[in-house]
């Protein structure tokens, strides 16, 4: 059946900010969908609040709305754009929930918008667990299949939960309905657990519904990725097996594709069930994911759940197989059938087939527990990882070891040096699933554990455990440097670093010896068909095998190094920059080569670059890719500045190895990052920096602190995302900090500027001219990591004189450092002095935001500058504006506000107070004519919005009391009832705000049972919380009170403002919402206005 001609315009909803459980896989799927739909001639209307996505680039849709994904805003867009159809299956649970809401409120019907790709009943059937169980039972009975559901009870109240658990017997699994990433689910081992988990689950579920289920902990876990078209053709794209058995969320599990431990009978039964279920559910067209558990002792199979949409697993499956699920789902949604869609990779065969893999794919999760002190680090059914890396090898050991080194995390790889913990303690440790459990197992093997002991402790399938023994045996054979041993080790995925560690040799020495033996990897193609047909799309992975398949070319090549697994501080923004560079350089006539190992991204879509290497971003792996590319044609340059700290960290070593690194030279990068050298650059330019020093010991640190005066900002050198950064107010805290800091890296100590305005600048420099991309003013004061701070562009309180100073300073730094490409500088303005905090000669996290807010593609321009273009030339081409830049935006420019999104709801018990260490996972943008409405939109997009009425609770630190008065007064005038703790209430009353005093948590309930503020928050009596922290972390008293208030706010999902600047912005936002002057405007219209 060919393309539908009865629809002309399609709305696509994205997934909003990057959060745990919903990351850039939906940018990948959404970008593919938009590209396909536009290529098919449809008018595409896109809604996504996340500016860091590639899909929200104006060129991927006809009308791009970076607006909150809420029913009322989407309705406004629908009313304006009048799309014929809505495709909701490519934007994760967020898009699906929005579509359900629009359907239920009658908006879709009112505006005659057809839901395509899934229908409402199918969404309900897939998501409603009771209905789903009926479906499983029905297909099993009708078709005689081995399939059932776990025994379970649906509950809507705590009493029902308690009764249900009695019937099923503890432990029980608690799963709230309609939440994403398994939010709010967990194992309850007893009644106390149940009350806690089910209580939160009932709250988290939009339908106040949780499911209690029999425990299938320790069973094998599998997933199938299924596609169906409207002619009822169904294919299984990929099977995925979780190495971690049931009990660990699949997003937190180490997973393998294809499934490794199924016989054909079991696999085909699973396939039959999957197909029967999606037919019964009624998924019309598109991709679905269906999960199974298998009892290893009896083969009893339970169907866990299905997602009637593209998911994180489908992104993984697409990368694992070369079968682009989202792209094909979009084609199927507009009427094509699978046999009408060609397989891109072979070009000759259709998409109506099932990929066959002659390699093994391993995905490993990346966690960020170090950022969340106090968070429970046990892996459960509640997803906690912030990113993932994928690797491909011709065997499981090769793929696994490549995946572990792709994590780029100290201690993630297997190691055979150093002391081994006692076997018993390792076995005890691995009984509880945790980050790095495979390494714990590997260490236990070193300590003499047997396969039976390991199986008993982990229930990981013996086949996988034996593969770990195999890796161990290969390692123990590495005793001296001989060809066959080394070859064997490389075939089992050992890195030069690992081999060097075992032999006591430097990595470079191992590499030289290896090359002397002629031992290099070959590159095989991901071809969907196990080499049955020739592949036309070069998507390659390294392996120590026989034949290399790198095609030859004659155009000059540019190799772009990506950013690896998402982590806090290094996420989608860097992928955005890499993808832009690739698109732009391809257009400029280069052959583009991408290297990356993050399966969620657009950069690892084989469609993005001329060639994709799915490889770890380590020096060894990158050097081999460069070598392979140089062997088939000239390499014009390697770009390291766009993928964040990961590639930047390789710059010097690559250059030393003779690789043509383009853009800002590694020496200049060092100049910006090394304190002393950068200090000299600033001194020469006459730019002040906060007083600072570098300490290697406690004594040094105390001397420096005394010299420059408290408070001081301390941090290890060479970090991204402010890891390990803290503001220190006294000697004792400093001593503790230095004790914990690693001693092999110096600690930087800066004077901390209280009450400063922080300013972020992104600029482009070609050696001659500076293009000021954008000047962003942080809403929160200095001291809060720029990644976690909201900011406004154009700056809301800086005048043209300030911007002129910023421009001059930025130019001096760019020149002094020797930048060729992008430069990010952070300034603090205090007492009318502009201090330089730091400069990073690379793409920053704010590049996509600035590009969208100013309608200038900065990353593209940067890529061109790195390859030799000038800013003058780019102005002439029209890529950059003919005159002016991001510092000269017109007075009446719309205001764009970026707000960070923090994952505190995933890490219960962690203090949500913002600080110098970055903890946000994603961001949103709100854009409107004025600051208030733009800020309101950003809050709506990030957290669901600001309240416009009800009770506001205010409790602030003494230093904030002055600044609080005016905005709180405004809140009261807006009709809010004001609650406050005693000290705050006193100040407010003196200023004419009638604040009602409430009891602090530390006061306990009153004599007549008056509840404390925490109780009132938990009981849902408070709508807005303003709480700025005071006292030192870890102290009892006021700081602890604040902590408990903020924790309660997270539990109830109540807006909680922790800075006084944020309060002022919020009040402006609320005023705008109340006045109702929040409009919608597409980026295309925005660009038209800014650039004409």
């Amino acid at each position: 059946m060919p393309k539908r001609t009865d629809i002309q315009s399609i709305m696509v909803i994205g997934s909003g900010p990057i959060v745990i459980g919903q990351a850039c896989e939906f940018d990948y799927s959404g970008t593919q969908a938009c590209r396909v739909l536009r290529a098919e001639g449809f008018r595409v209307i896109l809604v996504n609040s996340n500016p860091a996505t590639i899909m929200t680039d104006p060129e991927f849709a006809d009308a791009t709305y970076v607006e909150p994904i809420t029913p009322d805003i989407i309705e406004k867009i629908i009313a304006k754009e009048r799309p014929d159809a809505l495709l909701p299956t490519l934007g994760g649970q967020t898009a699906l929930n929005a579509a359900v809401a629009l359907h239920e409120s009658g908006v879709l019907e009112r505006y005659e918008v057809e839901l395509i790709g899934a229908n409402f009943d199918a969404i309900q059937a897939g998501e409603n667990r009771e209905k789903f169980k009926e479906i499983v039972a029905k297909v099993a009975a009708e078709r005689g299949l081995n399939a059932e559901s776990a025994r379970s009870v649906i509950c809507h109240t705590m009493d029902e939960c308690l009764a249900g658990a009695e019937v099923l017997g503890y432990p029980v699994v608690v799963r709230p309905s309609f939440t994403m990433g398994g939010a709010g689910s967990g194992f309850a081992h007893d009644e106390a657990d149940l009350r806690r988990i089910a209580g939160a689950g009932l709250d988290a579920s939009p339908t106040t519904e949780v499911l209690l289920e029999e425990s299938i902990l320790g069973w094998k876990e599998f997933e199938l990725e299924v596609m169906r078209d409207r002619a009822d053709n169904v294919v299984i794209v990929c099977s995925i097996e979780n190495i971690d058995p049931m009990g660990v969320h699949t997003g937190d599990s180490v997973t393998v594709a294809p499934a490794m431990t199924l016989t054909d009978r079991e696999y085909q039964n699973m396939r039959d069930v999957a197909i029967a279920v999606i037919r019964e559910v009624g998924v019309d067209t598109g991709g679905c994911n269906i999960q199974f558990a298998v009892d290893p002792a009896t083969g009893r199979m339970i169907v866990i759940e299905m997602n009637p949409r593209v998911s994180r697993s489908s992104a993984l499956a697409s990368k694992a197989t070369g079968f682009p699920i989202a792209k094909i789902a979009a084609k199927l949604a507009v009427g094509y059938t699978l046999d009408e869609v060609p397989n891109d990779i072979t070009k000759e065969t259709p998409a109506s087939f099932e990929p066959s893999l002659d390699y093994v794919v391993v995905k490993v999760p990346r966690f960020a527990f170090e950022k969340f002190a106090g968070a429970d680090q046990t892996l459960t059914t509640h997803m906690k990882s912030v990113g993932e890396a994928m690797a491909i090898g011709r065997s499981f050991p090769e793929a696994l070891q490549k995946a572990l080194r792709s994590l780029e995390k100290k201690g993630s790889q297997f190691s055979w040096t150093g002391p081994v913990a006692p076997k018993e303690s390792l076995l005890a440790q691995m009984r509880v699933p945790h980050d790095g459990r495979l390494r714990t197992i590997q260490q236990a093997i070193r300590a003499g554990a047997t396969l039976e002991e390991l199986f008993d402790a982990t229930k990981i399938d013996p086949w996988f455990l034996d593969q770990l023994f195999l890796i161990h045996e290969v390692a123990t054979e590495i005793r001296e440097f001989d060809g066959p041993t080394l070859k064997n080790a490389k075939e089992h995925g050992f890195s030069d670093v690992q081999i060097g560690e075992i032999l006591g040799l430097e990595e470079s020495r191992v590499r030289d010896l290896r090359h002397a033996l002629g031992l290099r990897p070959v590159y095989n193609t991901v071809d969907t068909c196990a080499a049955e047909f020739a592949a036309k799309t070069p998507y390659l992975y390294s392996t120590y095998d026989e034949e290399t398949e790198v095609p030859t070319g004659d155009r000059p090549k540019v190799i772009i190094l990506g950013s690896g697994p998402n982590r806090i501080g290094q996420g989608i923004e860097f992928d955005y920059a890499c993808v832009h560079a690739s698109f732009e350089l391809a257009a400029a006539g280069f052959e583009t080569v991408m290297v990356n190992c993050n399966p969620e991204t657009v950069s690892t879509d084989y469609d993005t670059s001329d060639r994709l290497y799915f490889e770890p971003l380590t020096l060894e792996d990158v050097l081999e890719v460069v070598h392979a590319e140089q062997a088939t044609g000239p390499v014009a340059g390697v770009i390291v500045q766009l993928g964040g700290q990961t590639p930047l960290g390789l710059a010097q070593a690559l250059k030393d190895a003779g690789v043509p690194v383009v853009g800002t030279p590694p020496e200049s990068i060092h100049l910006a990052e090394e304190r002393g050298a950068f200090g000299r650059v600033l001194a020469e330019a006459g730019l002040p920096a906060p007083r600072h020093g570098t300490a290697l010991s406690v004594d040094e640190a105390r001397t420096i602190a005394e010299e420059i005066g408290y408070p001081v900002l301390v941090r290890p050198s060479y970090v991204l995302g402010g890891a390990g950064m803290a503001i220190v107010y006294d000697d004792d805290t400093l001593t503790t900090y230095m004790g914990k800091a690693a001693t092999d890296h110096p600690v930087l100590i800066d004077k901390f500027l209280d009450d400063a305005i922080e300013i972020d600048v992104d600029a482009l420099y070609d050696g001659e001219e500076l293009y000021l991309g954008g000047v962003m003013e942080h809403i929160e004061e200095a001291g809060i990591h720029s990644g976690d701070s909201a900011c406004a562009l154009p700056p809301i309180t800086l005048g043209s004189f300030d911007i002129k100073r910023i421009r001059t300073a930025t130019e001096a730094i760019a020149k002094g450092v020797g930048v060729r490409g992008l430069l990010n500088v952070q300034y603090a303005m205090a007492a009318n002095v502009l201090y330089v905090l730091e400069a990073n000669p690379r793409a920053s996290r704010t590049i996509p935001f600035v590009s969208k807010a100013t309608a200038v593609p900065l990353a593209k321009a940067a890529a061109r500058v790195m390859m030799g273009a000038t800013i003058a030339g780019l102005r002439e081409e029209g890529m950059l504006p003919a005159t002016g830049d991001g510092g000269t935006l017109p007075m009446d420019s719309p205001i764009a506000v970026k707000e960070a999104v923090l994952p505190f709801d995933r890490f219960r018990g962690v203090d949500i107070v913002l600080g110098p260490e970055m903890r946000s996972t994603g961001e949103v943008m709100g854009v409107d004519a004025g600051f208030g409405s733009a800020y309101a939109k950003s809050q709506q997009a990030a957290y669901g919005g600001l309240p416009t009425k009800g009770r506001a609770f205010v409790s602030v630190a003494n230093k904030d009391k002055r600044a609080m008065i005016f905005p709180v007064k405004a809140l009261a005038e807006l009709g809010f009832e004001i609650l406050a703790t005693e000290g705050t209430a006193e100040v407010l009353r003196r200023n004419g705000v009638h604040a009602k005093i409430v009891r602090k948590q530390s006061d306990g309930p009153g004599a007549d049972g008056e509840p404390t503020i925490v109780r009132r928050i938990l009981d849902g009596e408070v709508d807005l919380i303003v709480n700025t922290p005071f006292g030192s972390p870890g102290q009892s008293g006021p700081r602890l009170d604040g902590y408990e208030i903020r924790t309660a706010a997270v539990l109830r999902g109540i807006a909680c403002i922790t800075t006084v600047q944020g309060l002022a912005a919020a009040v402006q936002g609320i005023q705008h919402i109340v006045r109702g002057d929040v409009g919608v405007r597409s980026l295309q219209e925005h660009a038209q206005r800014l650039r004409g």
Binding site: P258, P350, E354, L357, D466, A530
Partner: protein, 367 residues
């Protein structure tokens, strides 16, 4: 200890012995299935073929007593990349390595299975030998040995793999039909699929005469899959013609499809490297629907794809076609209950998408 895989064009791959040690010869083919090695090994159609698995890890689920498709391993040799050291499955009772040794199957575990597949894809199927154990003669001598081994083209092999005695697979539940199934290399799942649908299946030797077959007065006649060159299977073609003359409903699978093609006067030819795997898209031209299907064939029927054509038994058409290469995957007579497919609706290993063909066979027998 090393093992060598030697191709007739002189290409040599080195590896370690797997299964039995010794030497073996056969036609070199590759199979792209990621599951079902036990079914593959015991499929009689692989007689005289050395099978290379493109999936790297083989043997992970061991061997059980339920999944074999016949009483023995038929492949002439086995090529894998990563044999399992430990197997894991609740039904397994021994390892694949032990099973192959017990069955005397010479194999090789070698790194270059993908290089081998690419070689065969470009150069076509060819003869090969696996050599292991003791001191091996120099490679040129081994290549000579391979070149002296028999070719697949022109080989009449059905009788070598088929049962010598007729036997009956009873209907499961109520008996509805009697089926005379000519064993040209039949897989165990095929009579099972019919028995599930109420067929009592009389499995007959490949050498059975049409007279003996028709004497059973079957409701339908079935010709199975099997090894060898259909162009050499004159006896089966003669038998089928008499069955068609007798007006019996007919269903054929794989080799059976090629025999029907020849009986209808069509030619057969050898594919460059065949279809062997469980992921092939076949379109049913009557409905337009696509089935993901199990394949194991090196030969195919040459029939017009552009519409019905005349045969001595009336008008016929190509009912199924492979979407990858437009290869003929099914034939049917328009006016008689006679049809066959080139692929494997009984699956084992493979998807069950084409199981409806057994229903259709029962329908025409009941009509």
């Amino acid at each position: 200890m090393t093992a060598l895989l030697v191709l007739e064009d002189g290409r040599v791959f080195e590896g370690a012995p797997y299964g039995a040690v010794g030497e073996t010869y056969g036609e070199m083919v590759f199979n792209t299935g990621m599951t079902g090695y036990q079914e593959t090994l015991t499929d009689p159609s692989y007689h005289r073929q050395i099978v290379a698995m493109t999936a790297p890890h083989i043997g992970n689920t061991g061997v059980n007593d339920e999944d074999p498709e016949s009483g023995r391993v038929w492949v002439a040799g086995y090529v894998v990349r990563e044999p399992a050291r430990v197997h894991s499955n609740w039904r397994a009772n021994r390892s694949l390595d032990d099973y192959l040794r017990e069955q005397g199957v010479v194999g090789i575990a070698m790194r270059g299975t993908r290089a081998l597949t690419r070689h065969l894809r470009e150069r076509g199927a060819m003869r090969a030998g696996i050599f292991s154990g003791g001191a091996l003669p120099p490679v040129p001598e081994l290549v000579e040995k391979v070149r002296r081994s028999p070719e697949m083209t022109g080989a009449d092999l059905a009788a070598e793999v088929a049962t010598t005695e007729a036997y009956v697979v009873p209907a499961i539940g109520e008996k509805r039909f009697t089926v005379a199934a000519v064993d040209l290399g039949i897989k165990g799942m095929t009579p099972h699929r019919m028995a599930e649908r109420g067929c009592e299946v009389h499995v007959l030797p490949a050498t059975v005469t049409a007279e003996a077959l028709l004497a059973l007065d079957p409701d339908g006649v079935f010709f199975s899959n099997g090894p060898g060159d259909p162009a050499a299977a004159d006896h089966a073609v003669e038998t089928l013609r008499k069955v068609l003359d007798a007006g019996k409903p007919f269903f054929g699978i794989c080799f059976g499809n090629q025999i029907l093609g020849r009986a209808l006067g069509l030619g057969t030819y050898k594919l460059r490297y065949g279809h062997r795997g469980v992921n092939q898209p076949v379109q049913d031209r009557r409905t337009g629907k696509v089935e993901i299907s199990a394949h194991n064939h090196g030969f195919a029927v040459d029939a017009p794809l552009d519409g019905p054509f005349d045969t001595p038994y009336g008008r016929a058409e190509v009912s199924h076609v492979n979407l990858n290469d437009d290869c003929v995957e099914g034939l049917r007579l328009l006016d008689r209950p006679v049809f066959s497919v080139q692929y494997h609706p009984e699956a084992a290993a493979g998807p069950h998408d084409a199981a409806y063909l057994f229903d259709e066979f029962c329908e025409v027998m009941g009509a």
